[in-house]
């Protein structure tokens, strides 16, 4: 054992990036504060949507809960999001496999095309779909909204699945074949367990997207409103703390879904 009685030179203090710290504080404040303000207003006793804080209350949440049109809109939103998510995730899974497994003509175009809906301006695709559905003589309503959200959700659901499949070690698949498993068994025993959490992540993202979407929905819906549409409609006329309460709820649910989705994005430890 060596003698550790060296002359103790005190460890140098690490240089701290103060300037950066200040910048961080500003940036965080700038991004977070607006959202903080809305949350604050939803529990503020004041009738008009403004500061300062006059007293804590949960009345606006109660009011929002009792509001029939808001509840109908929530029901519509959940219905649309659920069906569109199923549609997007199912097609996304198929498309991901097609890209992963097969070499086919137009594969690059196929991948690009799948991403088109999220890359292009919502106004343009909204108009495009409206014109298309009209020419197909599909009556506007929740059905067309679901179709539209499904198309938008497809690339969102596809993303995590495709990423995970790209990390899938081919040797695992070959090992299963080698040990006697037939294609269906290989999928069930090896491939799907590996991508399962990515499928969940993709579905959660697609659900969030559908639940929050406004631009395309406006073009494709008939008389039925989804929740963000209903909020929007009211915002144009009258901003109330009740709306702030609903916004806070949407915010919370969206955040939980996104965090849950990111949790599911890590591949299984190999």
């Amino acid at each position: 054992m060596p003698d550790v009685s060296s002359p103790a030179i005190a460890p140098r203090p690490q240089r701290r990036p103060w300037l950066l710290g200040v910048w961080t504080a500003i940036a965080l404040g700038f991004l977070y504060l607006p959202i903080g303000v809305v949350v604050l207003m939803s529990v503020n006793q004041s009738r008009i949507l403004s500061l300062p804080f006059t007293g804590f209350t949960l009345d606006w949440y109660g009011l929002a809960l009792a509001d029939a049109p808001l509840r109908a809109a929530l029901g519509n939103s959940l219905k649309v999001a659920a069906i569109a998510t199923l549609f997007a995730t199912g097609l996304g899974l198929l498309a991901a496999f097609a890209i992963y497994r097969y070499q086919f003509w137009g594969k690059t175009a196929f991948r690009l095309a799948l991403n088109l809906p999220i890359l292009l301006p919502g106004v343009v695709t909204g108009v495009a779909m409206l014109a298309y559905f009209s020419s197909l003589e599909l009556g506007l309503g929740l059905g067309t909204v679901i179709l539209g959200h499904g198309v938008f959700g497809l690339p969102v659901a596809l993303g995590p699945i495709l990423t995970r499949l790209g990390q899938f070690p081919t040797a695992l698949e070959e090992a299963a074949y080698d040990l006697g498993a037939r294609p269906v068994q290989v999928f069930r025993d090896v491939l799907f367990p590996y991508i399962r959490s990515a499928v969940v992540a993709g579905a959660l993202l697609a659900f969030t997207l559908s639940f929050d979407e406004v631009v395309v929905t406006i073009f494709l819906t008939g008389r039925d409103n989804t929740l963000p549409m209903e909020i929007w409609g009211r915002l144009r006329t009258n901003i109330t703390p009740e709306i702030a309460a609903v916004a806070t709820v949407i915010l919370t649910v969206s955040s939980i879904l996104v965090v849950a989705s990111q949790r599911n994005s890590a591949p299984p430890s190999a």
Partner: protein
């Protein structure tokens, strides 16, 4: 036909298309592996050794030729129909299954009864000295332990042939030696046929009954380790396996399997590999460094005076690498490298004699 061999490849070729051109990954390979053999495919990356293994495993299908297992054509059969299992370079353990579930997988697929699976897995864990690891996940194991699990999984349903794709390359140098010994022991115990792919010549020489040296998709030489080391069939094999000295010369006399070759004016006695080249053609002589005897020039009573070839030499560089010393010497026939298993430091001195047997000096084509 050698279709009665356990594994038989009959003029098999595998092509890849790369930008319009067709490239042979494996070209016209014919191989017969006998039951119980430890057979190695040795080559550098891109030599076609792994593709050959994958053709036997069923992961690739050849464009030309046929693959026989146990006398039956299996060329187009998928991997799950072949009585052949593979140990992958990455081990390919299923990450979401425990060690015991990994090992049980081939039995579960074959719908073996629960109790029988449990018993066999317990035996396998015991045999590979990892009885306490059954409940762990693969990522909690060391490299050596993962290797054992992969081996146990591949062996549990008693395949006819075990294919091993560089199974030691992911291990540390120190543990690799140990696992190599275990592998050989498992093969001896089970008396299974092993087909082993490696780029490591030491590994192939130490483990194999027979070796196929591959390059550019073709088998360059097939033989026992001793054949390949002592009598390489070509300059390529001689350069690929071990270290060697190469001398250019002209063949001037042939008598039986002995030839006299003129190198820089000096006549050297050498051994002929069939077929004998014509007189006055250029040839390459190969001598392994450890077959050269080094003696002090003064020492005339030495036991080296009966060796056919003798040249005087001057030491130019000596490198000490533990067990052996590598000495570089300048001689009338060219620079020569010799390896001495030695303790005493050898210092540069004006005169040494290098001598070697004609038996150890092989005549090879120029290229």
């Amino acid at each position: 036909m050698q279709t009665q061999s356990l594994v038989y490849l009959d003029r098999v070729s595998k092509l890849y298309r790369s930008g319009g051109a067709e490239i042979y990954a494996v070209r016209d390979v014919t191989l017969a592996v006998q039951a119980g053999e430890f057979f190695s495919l040795l080559g550098s990356s891109g030599s076609g050794k792994t593709t050959t293994l994958r053709l036997i495993g069923g992961f690739e299908q050849p464009e030309y030729g046929e693959v026989y297992l146990n006398g039956e054509v299996v060329t187009t059969q998928p991997p799950y129909c072949r009585p052949v299992h593979t140990v992958f370079q990455s081990y390919a353990l299923f990450p979401h299954l425990s060690v015991a579930e990994n090992i049980a997988y081939p039995l579960a697929i074959a719908r073996t009864p629960r109790e029988e699976i449990d018993a066999q897995v317990r035996d396998a864990l015991k045999m590979f000295q990892i009885p306490e690891l059954g409940d762990r996940r693969p990522h909690q194991l060391s490299g050596g332990q993962q290797q054992r699990v992969a081996l146990a999984r591949a062996l549990i349903s008693r395949p006819k042939v075990l294919l091993l794709d560089e199974p030691l390359s992911a291990l540390d140098a120190k543990i690799r030696d140990e696992v190599r010994q275990e592998l050989k022991a498992v093969q001896r115990q089970t008396n299974l046929t092993f087909i082993y792919v490696t780029h490591d010549q030491d590994e192939a020489l130490a483990l194999s009954d027979r070796i196929a040296v591959m390059d550019q998709g073709q088998v360059q030489q097939l033989g026992t380790p001793r054949d390949i080391y002592d009598a390489p069939a070509s300059l390529f094999v001689a350069q690929f396996i071990g270290k060697a000295n190469f001398l250019r010369g002209t063949i001037v006399d042939v008598a039986g399997d002995r030839a006299t070759v003129l190198v820089n004016g000096l006549a050297l006695q050498a051994r002929l590999s069939s077929p004998a080249p014509a007189l006055n053609t250029e040839v390459t002589l190969m001598v392994r460094p450890e077959r050269l005897r080094l003696s002090s020039a003064a020492d005339t009573q030495s036991s080296t005076h009966f060796l056919e070839n003798q040249v005087s030499a001057t030491l130019t560089q000596s490198t000490y690498i533990g067990a052996v010393q590598e000495l570089r010497l300048t001689t009338a026939v060219g620079d020569l490298l010799t390896t001495q298993l030695g303790q005493a430091p050898i210092h540069a001195s004006s005169s040494f004699t290098l001598s070697w047997q004609a038996e150890d000096c092989l005549v090879l084509p120029v290229d």
